[in-house]
């Protein structure tokens, strides 16, 4: 491992000619790209004819920026040293890190519990908190499939949609309460998870990813086209709001506020939703942590590490994969039911591939298999996205660059190491170099 990296270190440290050469190559590539993308601007003229004009000044500026930037990056790289090498961390920093690591999760949970108290008057922050927690829950659900079992699922949004539509349709058609529909939504989503699992059992890697992607699209298309049941593109509206175990959270005489004898405020419902999704997310987390320590969870991780060895040990890989799909799908279904009751209106537009990609990005960015990592990644992705809102057009650009930087510095996610599920004397974190990503 160390031998090749010292080689690259020697190569990059060869001095100014190599530096200029790299910068020149990058500048030429930039010139080729930007001369068409930026250099020539075309537009439809007033009569519909093609008009164009050139912007060589901007091209020159961009190429110069790339040239200068390459030199700066190269110099930075030489200064920092080669990437992918284990650096010696001073013991003080190390003990500090482990201190932070031990108390970060409880501290985060504590702060989360207090958010509705601190920001009671700020509807925007509460809504954002609910959104972040929804993605934390989705991330934890997908983590079972992708992080633990190593099965790349690009169609996770399908289960989210199944859960949302299950609740919406059961509640609007039969008038069943949220607390009855929630388990049903989970069971239905798990059922679809198994249904998806069967045909893809033999597939691995890219093939599995493509079929799951298609599955996500199929569910969305069925929802759009099955107008009698789902209302098609118009969606389902006036979905009942959740009740506090039967007591509605509204301004009526039977409402919770009236019963408690306090003044009604619409914020009550938001706070209730906040704690509801927090409870659901924590349930997901608790179940996942427990499952990891049970034989089924160990079999998932073993499956990710080596499927052939699993078979040689008498592990039924078929049911193991199906349970992973079903468990992940069930949590997706819970989150979907919550989404439907929060929005009060759902349509197929909420369940596009972009959602699947976002949740997968959260899992990958967080570090596959790490619960805390996924929570941090959801906070960074959803919260960070809102943070950059003031940048308007450049928001995606800044966001993309931030993600690229994180992937350079932490290629295996924010928390890449793996914690063992059982130990004799001391639980030692396992380096991400050893942990497999799974084959599909």
């Amino acid at each position: 491992m160390t031998a090749p990296s010292t080689n690259t270190a020697k190569k990059t440290a060869t001095g100014i000619p190599a530096l200029l050469k790299t910068a020149l190559v990058n500048a030429v590539i930039a010139l080729v790209l930007f001369s068409l993308m930026v250099g020539i601007r075309t537009e439809a003229g007033s009569d519909g004819q093609l008009t164009y004009w050139t912007r060589f000044g901007e091209v020159a500026a961009l190429v110069a920026a790339v040239f200068g930037g390459s030199i700066v990056i190269e110099l930075l790289r030489q200064w920092i040293g080669p990437t992918g090498v284990e650096k010696l961390v001073p013991p003080v920093v190390q003990s500090g890190m482990s201190f932070v690591g031990r108390y970060l999760a409880p501290a985060l949970l504590f702060v989360t519990l207090l958010v509705p108290v601190i920001f009671y008057d700020q509807r925007y922050i509460l809504d954002l908190g609910i959104l972040v927690l929804t993605y934390v829950m989705l991330g934890w659900g997908l983590n079972v499939v992708v992080g633990l079992a190593g099965l790349l699922d690009l169609g996770y949004v399908a289960f989210y949609a199944v859960g949302a539509y299950s609740y919406a349709l059961l509640a609007t058609n039969f008038g069943w309460s949220f607390w009855v529909c929630l388990p049903l939504a989970g069971i239905l989503a798990a059922f679809w998870g198994v249904l998806l699992g069967f045909p893809v059992l033999r597939l691995r890697g890219d093939y599995l990813a493509i079929v799951t992607l298609a599955f996500g699209e199929i569910i969305r298309l069925v929802i759009i086209n099955w107008q009698e049941l789902t209302g098609g593109p118009n969606g389902v509206s006036s979905i009942p709001r959740p009740s506090f175990f039967g007591i509605p959270l509204d301004n009526s005489d039977n409402g919770l506020a009236a019963k408690l004898g306090i003044e009604y405020s619409p914020t009550h419902r938001i706070v209730f939703l906040f704690y509801l999704i927090l409870a659901l997310a924590l349930l997901t987390n608790w179940v996942t942590i427990r499952l990891r320590r049970l034989p089924i969870g160990r079999a998932w991780e073993a499956l990710r590490e080596d499927e052939v060895a699993c078979r040689a040990l008498g592990i039924n890989t078929t049911t193991t994969k199906l349970t992973a799909f079903a468990t992940g799908a069930m949590f997706g279904g819970f989150a979907g039911a919550f989404f439907a009751t929060r929005q009060g209106f759902i349509s197929p537009e909420s369940f596009t591939f972009q959602e699947s990609a976002l949740v997968l990005a959260i899992v990958v960015l967080g570090g596959m298999g790490s619960q805390l990592g996924v929570a941090l990644a959801a906070l960074a992705m959803i919260g960070g996205f809102e943070l950059f809102r003031s940048l308007e057009t450049y928001r995606m650009l800044v966001f993309g660059m931030a993600m690229v930087l994180i992937m350079i510095w932490r290629p295996r996610g924010l928390i890449g190491h793996r914690a063992p599920t059982v130990y004799l004397t001391k639980a030692q974190a396992i380096s991400s170099d050893l942990v497999k990503e799974g084959h599909g």
Binding site: A312, I315, T317, L424
Partner: protein, 276 residues
């Protein structure tokens, strides 16, 4: 070969398209003995192994496993994981297949999956923390600890399997197979890549496993190991059995020497004559 056979392979044939890898191969392994399967590279040893352990479905022939309790199981009709689960045949691999990102202890816990799965009420009892499962897990950790002690890796129990030295990984893989509590243990070149000291330790481990009552079927190139521990040796070349017998008989068989030297029988006999 008389006595109590645990495994009898009868006229096993394995074809891959037009290529016949194994042709009418018959062999039997005695209970609580070590049977070695040897032969030059490409003789078809691993193919026979893969047929016995369910990784290939044989094109023809039968494979019978008889358990202590008198049950006889047709291995060629079982597939995949069922051979390990129901027939209690465990195997190791020529290129080590541990779970590198899991600790040594976890590797041995995964091997006890089926027993623990039953104890955890197929996850539901375990999820609520039922005492039945906690006892079963304690027992499983105990078994794993015993094996770690036996293979001298107790102090590395909480290290990732991928971080262990090569020889340690070999021993851990055998321990993992033994944690499934098999009736027949199939080892595919367990001594490959080991130094002399490690090979000697391996021989000792295999003999102790045999003395504890597990039958062993072994593929091996390291002749010092094979000759030292085997009770019975079967020699293959070009997909057919060319000789079998005790280590002494096989060592002196001109056909075996010819196969290994790549010459014909008369030449080998002549070499032996001039040598002795």
């Amino acid at each position: 070969m008389s006595g109590d056979t645990i495994l009898s392979v009868d006229r096993l044939t394995m074809r891959f398209g037009g290529i016949v890898a194994v042709q009418d191969m018959s062999l039997s392994a005695e209970r609580k003995k070590i049977t070695a399967l040897i032969g030059p590279n490409g003789a078809g040893k691993t193919t026979v192994f893969n047929c016995i352990t369910g990784f290939y479905k044989p094109s023809g022939g039968t494979i019978r496993l008889s358990h202590d309790d008198g049950r006889t199981i047709a291995l060629e009709k079982l597939n995949d994981f069922r051979i390990a689960k129901q027939a209690k045949v465990a195997r190791t691999f020529q290129n080590i297949r541990l779970f590198p990102g899991m600790t040594a202890l976890e590797n041995l816990m995964v091997a006890q999956h089926n027993a623990l799965m039953r104890a955890s009420g197929f996850t539901f009892l375990g999820l609520v923390g039922a005492p039945v499962y906690r006892d079963a897990e304690k027992h499983a950790i105990g078994l794993a600890t015993d094996w770690l002690r036996r293979i001298n890796l107790l102090d590395r129990a909480d290290d990732a399997a991928g971080n262990l030295a090569y020889g340690d990984q070999r021993r851990l893989e055998i321990a993992r197979a033994m944690c499934t509590e098999p009736a027949l243990l199939c080892l595919d070149e367990p001594a490959a890549g080991l130094n002399a000291r490690e090979s000697a330790a391996l021989s000792e481990l295999l003999l102790s496993i045999r003395n504890d009552g597990t039958s062993i079927l072994l593929i091996e190139h390291d002749m010092s190991v094979v000759m030292e521990i085997s009770d019975h040796i079967v020699v293959m070349d070009h997909g057919v059995k060319i000789a079998e017998g005790s280590p002494r008989e096989v060592r002196d068989d001109p056909k075996v020497i010819a196969a290994y030297l790549g010459t014909d029988e008369e030449e080998a006999a002549a070499v032996m004559e001039s040598g002795s």
